[in-house]
Symmetry: C2
Subunit: 175 residues, 2 copies
DNA sequence: CAATAACGTTTCATGTCTAAAATATTCTGT
DNA sequence: ACAGAATATTTTAGACATGAAACGTTATTG
């Protein structure tokens, strides 16, 4: 998950004196393209946060981010949602949802009813227990995220959010 | 991989007139804490880029990001590295490295020699084939990343990198 | 109305990750 | 030198991801 790329060292061969400033802006220790450096940082931040949250979810609630995220999507949809819809929301393949849902249902956190109109589809809903449990987890989860990111100044946070939002829009257009 | 959290709607109860500006800066549609929104965006960007790169690596080179990243770490270390070192570099457990290395060695991309000094450790090195293959992949990989992120203006890129660098530092201190 | 296309879900094979237990090797203190 | 501590790796069990194939249900249409 690092995607590091080695830059070739510039072999000093020319007889001309080298330019005073390198061609690429060097705010950092490496000559790599800005884009590459951004991607590496982005990935590093995301995996660090994800691992921290996952570890705490496991320790405090004996659950995982995948389960939490599925509950979160159902929590904001009292009318329920189908497997495919959830799969789209979580950006995860249908096959992955099947296993997740089976376990969550076995644990009594969600209900799965056949849709009366279209018997191909299931309607997933949070159970009472699921809603209660999700509320507890969501509160802690929020505290954790705030602790992790909250050390940045409000200005930095606002800037960062804007840039990420812009980046996400560009990425979505790309696909 | 979404980690969405629903925010409670603010119930208007006070008799005093509300402040002209909301307490939290609202550049966005939701009342959630900035930290939560940043985390969601960060995760969305990271997974989108990761999936795009993974898909292209699979299509063009029949490989994966995990394999590519391991090769990348060895490529910048001609002296080689031990399993544990690689595991630290990739921020992945030792067990994960074992399987990866076995396959890469079977494919002839890396060598694994027992260290003469300490027979507990292996020294991993890129093979000739591995180095050649990695070079081809690294060039394409860089093009892809530049295409994905390059739509941001240079200023935005530089800002984003700075903020991510700062965030990463804070996260590392946290742990 | 039947053949067929489209859809929703499950199953399967495969890949990657983790955490913890097992093994093997080296180091350390008396 | 030797018992234990520390270190490096492998193994195992379990979670989650994908993509492709299979299957039942619904829609379409000649």
């Amino acid at each position: 998950m690092d995607a590091t790329v080695k830059r070739k060292a510039r072999s000093p061969k020319s007889t001309r004196p080298p330019p005073l400033q390198p061609v690429e802006p060097v705010h950092d220790s490496d000559g790599a393209h800005l884009e590459l450096r951004i991607w590496l940082r982005l990935l590093a931040c995301a995996t660090r946060i994800e691992k921290a949250l996952n570890a705490r979810l496991r320790k405090e609630f004996n659950t995982t981010l995948a389960r939490f995220d599925l509950l979160a999507q159902l929590a904001r949809r009292p009318e329920g949602a189908s497997m495919s819809v959830v799969s789209d929301l979580l950006m995860v393949s249908n096959g992955a949802i099947t296993a997740l849902v089976q376990k969550l249902e076995a644990d009594g956190l969600i209900h799965r009813e056949v849709d009366t109109a279209d018997r191909r589809t299931f309607r997933l809903r949070l159970s009472q227990d699921g809603a209660r449990e999700f509320d507890r987890m969501a509160r802690r989860h929020e505290e954790w995220v705030i602790a992790l990111i909250g050390e940045l100044s409000p200005v930095a946070q606002s800037d960062l959010l804007q840039h990420l939002t812009l980046l996400k829009r560009r990425l979505d257009k790309h696909a």
